[in-house]
Subunit: 243 residues, 2 copies
């Protein structure tokens, strides 16, 4: 895939020295917004600069003016995704992170927080926001990670996962670093994300066209049931102890 660039600022062109965020910034934003869509749908290799330009309603050289190269546009997309996801997920995990930092909440409260969190993630992953193409962007990066993956992983995934793992850990009375805790956290997320990564299969297997309204409610109910069962006190953990 793309060659690394020798110069400057993640492929983004430096702003002119006279300073000031001129009208061009709106164009810049429009390019990124369109590129998210195009890259998300076709991938880096499948998207052409001409597609990107047309989709953004700008001419081809505009792309190279605002971003040094196609890769520059791509990385700018990754940064945009990281920024937006970070904001969104921070909103979801904010209360949990606070609660976990303070006095240990009772078990019922912990489970409640987890269920609420999963509910929020379900809205995010199953609903049809503008954000939906981003997931494919990220999934593709997992097949062959570029700098874009580093950006998103370090700025969003790591923190969000650790918050979740800490919560799961509390429920299992183990630290967030425990591997069993981390695996369980991972499978938990997997249940949700699969509706997005295997969306076409999901659509065909359910006969649904989307996952909104009542359908979303059904999915959430199933998830709650399963998670509540998985974290039922008697079922706390499997036999083996680590140390």
């Amino acid at each position: 895939m793309p060659k690394a660039r020798a110069n400057a600022e993640d492929g983004r062109r430096r702003r002119p020295a006279d300073g000031g965020y001129a009208r061009g910034d709106e164009t810049r934003a429009r390019i990124i917004s369109a590129a998210l869509d195009v890259f998300g749908t076709h991938g880096f290799g499948g998207a052409s600069t001409r597609m990107l330009a047309e989709s953004a309603g700008v001419t081809l050289p505009a792309l190279h003016y605002y971003f040094d190269s196609k890769e520059g546009v791509y990385l700018a997309c990754a940064e945009h995704i990281a920024e937006q996801l970070d904001g969104r997920f921070r909103g979801l995990t904010h209360d949990v992170a606070n609660a976990l930092a303070g006095a240990p909440p009772p078990r019922a409260r912990l489970l409640d927080m987890l269920l609420t969190l999963v509910d929020g993630f379900a809205d995010f992953f199953l609903g049809g926001h503008e954000l939906e193409k981003w997931v494919m962007f990220i999934i593709r990066e997992q097949a062959q990670p570029t700098k874009a993956f580093d950006i998103i992983f370090e700025r969003v995934m790591q923190r969000t996962f650790n918050t979740l793992a800490t919560l799961v850990g509390r429920l299992l009375e183990r630290p967030a670093s425990d591997m069993e805790v981390r695996i369980r956290t991972f499978t938990l997320i997997g249940q949700l994300v699969f509706f997005r990564t295997a969306r076409e299969a999901a659509v065909r297997l359910t006969g649904w066209r989307d996952f909104d309204g009542e359908r979303l409610k059904l999915v959430k109910r199933v998830l709650r049931t399963q998670i509540a069962a998985a974290f039922a006190p008697e079922q706390k953990l499997s036999r083996r102890r680590k140390s």
Copy 2:
């Protein structure tokens, strides 16, 4: 992505009329084998015919001799994947399908079958076979399905999913067509597949390099625990009844 072709046999060139599977069939197989790797890694757009040819150790025109076009190679890959997956999954689900066709097995036996099945799927999705690149091939198709997705869906996914759903349905005392049953089946698979689709994230979050040996055992143990809990008799289903 690729334009549909007007002619012949899923893009595969008809064999010469003198019949006979000459030496060329070995070349053909080598091309497909290499192409699976290249398409799996780079996607359709990201892969070039030159890559395909070099990787297979053939010259460029050989590609067009055996397959009409780049798309022909791609579709042949899809057929290969469908064929192999079908074989593999039939092996896994064979006993289950038989058991479900006969006299209703006791509940404990049903759960046991489900756990065994999940074990088998875990080996498949987490282990590092030759088959590993295929998953990315399929995941990409979910973003923007082409004929390749139809091939794989109809030949493998549908049947495998329905077997699983039937089993899950029995455990929940509902038909395989019930939406709650299908959703639960879907989340079940999601837990497994996520280790492959989000492999890079999984690797970074666990610090593991692969999911073999003891690590695979840990993942399997976690899955068994969770599934057993989710299908515990008391936890049979959520409140609502359908009809």
